[in-house]
Subunit: 97 residues, 4 copies
């Protein structure tokens, strides 16, 4: 039995678009540094990319709970449920969140 259900198609499209935008932003920061732009402007852009990544994480996580965790609940498989809760605790408990 497999309970791993991946991102739904609509979330996947949105996440890919946002990740590609982030890739473009990182390229822009590389050019800022190469062009000797002011440190504080560089820092501000890096912080904006971190915030964008955080929002992508939250989108993936919301989808995960709505689907993968929900499937574990519906399955009635207690060990799988325990694994899902342990995973959530680990992801959400990280200091950098």
């Amino acid at each position: 039995m497999v309970y791993i259900v991946n991102m739904r198609a609509e979330i996947k499209g949105s996440v890919l678009r946002r990740l590609k935008r982030v890739a473009g932003q990182v390229g822009g920061i590389v050019r800022m540094v190469e062009a000797d732009r002011y440190c504080i402007d560089v820092i501000t852009q890096i912080a904006a990319v971190r915030a964008a990544l955080r929002r992508i994480e939250d989108e993936v996580l919301g989808d995960h709970v709505a689907h993968c965790v929900e499937d574990a609940i519906t399955s009635g498989d207690r060990d799988e449920q325990r694994r899902k809760v342990a995973e959530l605790m680990e992801v959400l408990g990280r200091a950098s969140r």
Copy 2:
């Protein structure tokens, strides 16, 4: 008078190298999502990139304080000093730090 002093050459090289590594990691996450990899693994990778960006920010900021802020102090220009302190407060006070 101009007090804006940019990143020193050695920091610039290190920051560029690390930013390019981040660009590669973001490309890797795009491929993970395209390949339908497990949500939690995607989240873990995004969190790792955020942590790497945070360390780059800290490197740029440390250099900024060591040089741009130090120059403002040496200059004796009080308005410039006030601007630097206000900038630092804004950058460091951000909720996402």
Copy 3:
């Protein structure tokens, strides 16, 4: 049916001891401010109390997952399980964590 299981006795004792220590520390900060102690020292003490509170939260949360969430899993009650997951997401997803 009741799935709410409260803190175990040993955790309760530890949490109470730590909360009372926090209460003492807050009293100490009040005295520091009254005695016009240096701002940065006051800030450092407040940050220490916040960190202590965060550790107490983590202790209560760890016990909650080990017991209340575990009971929801063992119960097989899916609605209760959904409630527990939603609660965990809310608690852990808070920006201030």
Copy 4:
């Protein structure tokens, strides 16, 4: 010469009032735990106290920058200015902010 200027009277009054409210809230949490209240409610209250402490910190820090740091700038004493910047970096750079 002494550049340490402490909290202004109006800030001091506000900070003391808020700290005393926090002390009351901590006492309330002790009673919640003694009364075996639900873990998630206890966690929510602790998080509220942490947020209140964070706001007090920000109030003290804002006053510090407006006064102590400003005095260091006005003094023209470069070593004092360097010390203030180093202090700010340390306080603001803490991971728990």
